[in-house]
């Protein structure tokens, strides 16, 4: 029976309404333990060690007895139907986070008696030992088969290649969620912050954002006419050269030029495929028949380099500037710094647009929202057609090479009181120009260099120093180390001395 393997994009909605989206790719594994319907804390089956699926996502610490719910939204489909959303309830127990199955979960679909049915997805809870692994929950899901056995008990097993009795192979999607002991999602709890302007009559609150797409390639500008570009192989160039050197060409050419080479404007080598069709090379009224050359149908083409994801590594301010910096190596352009804040927790998409006539190229850098920035260079390796052309080639080099850009030193954050050692260091990569002939000697595939800090956070940091908070809260709702910024003690019945001492202590930090 075919297995549903698909890549999922999961959106997790936190209890506070904030959302995080991740893409998960499936993997195969060997069944280790049989699933028992009576034990919802399923033993792990299959095993994985995919660090790229490890995602640092905060979950509430909670106390024993607490319960919170994540809403999971899956992209993709199975059997032509969209994957249903799931309410994943997490109960906090003494030594574990217990992933309870929602009673209203649509995952199981309808139940069949005596007939094995495939269902789209099911999740298997892997309840971590909270004492030994306080910060992690492993969570997997995959296709499942369900049937009623001879005793009338509903049985459920993951779908397997081949016979399910042999437990050969199962495919799962998996996600490992690391809490780092942090309570809430990566976006601030909107109920605890007042970040909006205070004058609603003036503020527009316009959150609309237009997706900026890269314009389509211009319509074909090429083939025929007074200007043509041909793609030649090395052998074909040798044939052209021999033809130009022969004496017979002068009998054929209209004698309006002193040399047939006068028809040839430039010769370039580029590591780019341009759209073309077969046509023999023609200059003036002379055609080198049987050459097998191709004439470009469009002088401009795209080179799609794909995308690189930049997930949250720390899931904190350390993922953003100035703690983290991103430098992009662009072939034929050089190393360019990117505004990491626009790409973290997103993707860096890169596409070049190349001009066959000049060799100029433009690199379009986008994120999931649209085009963010462009960089330009030249990807043509210029070859002289004759001796006195060499100086022009050299001159062309100097005119097309981009200026050498020095590495951008990271600047201080406005409003940060204390400097962080190491964070303010300049980026290790410095930008430089790599165009034209010099660019041809460097790497042809772009890459990203991500520089991240190394935090040195002691284990007891939270309970002794606390983490930056800036929320407005009733003190009775908080637990643990707390340092306040401001409080009004108008309603506290105490002497002036006592109030002053109380305020001093609260601002120094107390343990609630």
């Amino acid at each position: 029976m075919p297995i549903t393997k698909y890549s999922s994009i999961v959106t997790i909605e936190y209890p506070n309404g904030n959302q995080v989206t991740r893409s998960i790719t499936p993997f195969g594994g060997q069944m280790l333990n049989k699933y028992s319907l009576n034990d919802p804390r399923l033993a792990a089956f299959g095993y994985y060690n995919r660090t790229e699926d490890v995602i640092a996502l905060p979950i509430p610490q909670g106390e024993v007895g607490d319960s919170f719910t994540w809403h999971l939204f899956f992209s993709g489909e199975s059997g032509g139907e969209p994957l249903p959303p799931v309410d994943l309830r997490i109960d906090v127990r003494a030594n574990e986070y217990y992933l309870a199955m929602s009673s209203t979960s649509p995952l199981f679909g309808s139940k069949g008696v005596g007939i094995a049915k495939n269902y789209d997805t099911m999740y298997f809870a892997w309840a971590r030992d909270r004492a030994n692994y306080p910060d992690q929950i492993d969570f997997m899901w995959g296709p499942v088969r369900q049937w009623v056995n001879l005793n009338g008990v509903m049985q459920t097993l993951p779908c397997l290649e081949g016979s399910y009795n042999n437990y050969d192979t199962a495919y799962y999607n998996a996600m490992s969620i690391i809490t780092n002991g942090y309570p809430y999602g990566p976006i601030t709890d909107p109920t605890r912050y007042e970040s909006k302007p205070t004058d609603p009559s003036e503020a527009t609150m316009d959150d609309d954002s237009d997706p900026i797409e890269i314009d389509n390639l211009p319509s074909a500008v090429a083939a025929g006419g007074l200007f043509r570009v041909y793609e030649l192989t090395r052998q074909q160039m040798t044939t052209v050269s021999n033809t130009l050197a022969s004496s017979t060409i002068y009998d054929t050419l209209v004698k309006m030029v002193t040399s047939p080479l006068d028809y040839f404007i430039k010769l370039q080598a580029m590591p780019v495929d341009f759209p073309s069709f077969a046509e023999d090379l023609r200059f003036g009224n002379y055609t080198i028949t049987g050459l097998g050359s191709h004439i470009l149908s469009n002088f401009i083409t795209d080179v799609d380099c794909g995308q690189v994801s930049l997930p949250l590594y720390f899931s904190s301010f350390l993922d953003y500037a100035p703690a983290t910096s991103v430098t992009l190596y662009l072939p034929f352009i050089g190393y360019v710094p990117l505004n990491v804040d626009l790409f973290v927790n997103d993707v860096i998409k890169l596409k070049y647009r190349v001009d066959a006539v000049s060799g100029d190229c433009v690199a379009f850098v986008s994120n999931s929202q649209g085009l963010v920035t462009t960089f330009s260079g030249n990807c043509a390796y210029n070859l002289p057609l004759r001796a006195n052309d060499m100086s022009q080639v050299v001159a062309g080099l100097y005119s097309t090479v981009s200026g050498i850009a020095t590495g951008q030193a990271q600047t201080a954050i406005n409003g940060v009181g204390d400097a962080m050692s190491g964070v303010m260091k300049p980026a290790m990569i410095s930008a430089g120009g790599l165009s034209s002939n010099s660019g041809s000697m460097t790497n042809r595939k772009p890459y990203v260099v991500i520089e991240r800090p190394v935090p040195a956070v002691p284990k007891t940091y939270g309970e002794t120093v606390g983490f930056a908070s800036r929320i407005s809260a009733k003190l009775s709702t908080l637990k643990g180390y707390t340092r306040i910024e401001e409080i009004h003690l108008d309603h506290v019945n105490a002497t002036r001395e006592e109030k002053a001492e109380l305020e001093r202590l609260l601002k120094e930090g107390v343990i609630l």
């Binding site: 040839f264 301010f317 050692s421 260091k425 940091y461 983490f467 930056a468 006592e498």
Partner: protein
């Protein structure tokens, strides 16, 4: 005035302290009316580091007992300091404050200048799935 003597190992800045009662004493209060930092004169404090003063005007307030050096002829004079956290917790815990730092309720995306960072950095390289061709192609431009 009746004084309850305790020992405690709780942090001074803990709102809820764990107290171990070790005895009660009758004490004389020096500087009557000073409910913030009274002095107590009593016999045999039994090594207490914490106390509760009953009776007016203290009304059961809790106090830290400052370190003292022995008792002359068995009589000790103890300097005390009001533990405002214990005494006022039922009131101030109902107040709303702007929290600057917290152990559990954090916004990790706020710039935290106090978080220690090493001087060294780590670099990660991620290559795009595709790029330019590895080989060159030749293009000749012709006019006329």
């Amino acid at each position: 005035m009746v004084i309850k003597l305790y020992t405690t190992r709780s942090d001074a800045n803990a709102v809820n302290k764990v107290l171990t009662l070790i005895g009660e004493r009758d004490a004389e209060i020096k500087g009557a009316g000073n409910t913030f930092s009274p002095s107590l004169v009593l016999r045999d404090p039994m090594g207490a580091n914490y106390c509760q003063i009953m009776g007016e005007p203290f009304n059961g307030r809790y106090y830290f007992i400052m370190p003292y050096t022995g008792a002359a002829h068995g009589i000790a004079t103890l300097e005390c300091k009001n533990d405002v956290l214990m005494n006022l917790k039922s009131q101030f815990l109902q107040e709303t404050a702007i929290i600057s730092r917290q152990e559990n309720e954090a916004n990790l995306f706020l710039n935290d200048g106090q978080m220690p960072i090493e001087a060294r950095k780590q670099a990660f390289f991620k290559e795009f799935p595709s790029g330019f061709l590895t080989d060159f192609k030749y293009y000749i431009s012709v006019g006329g």
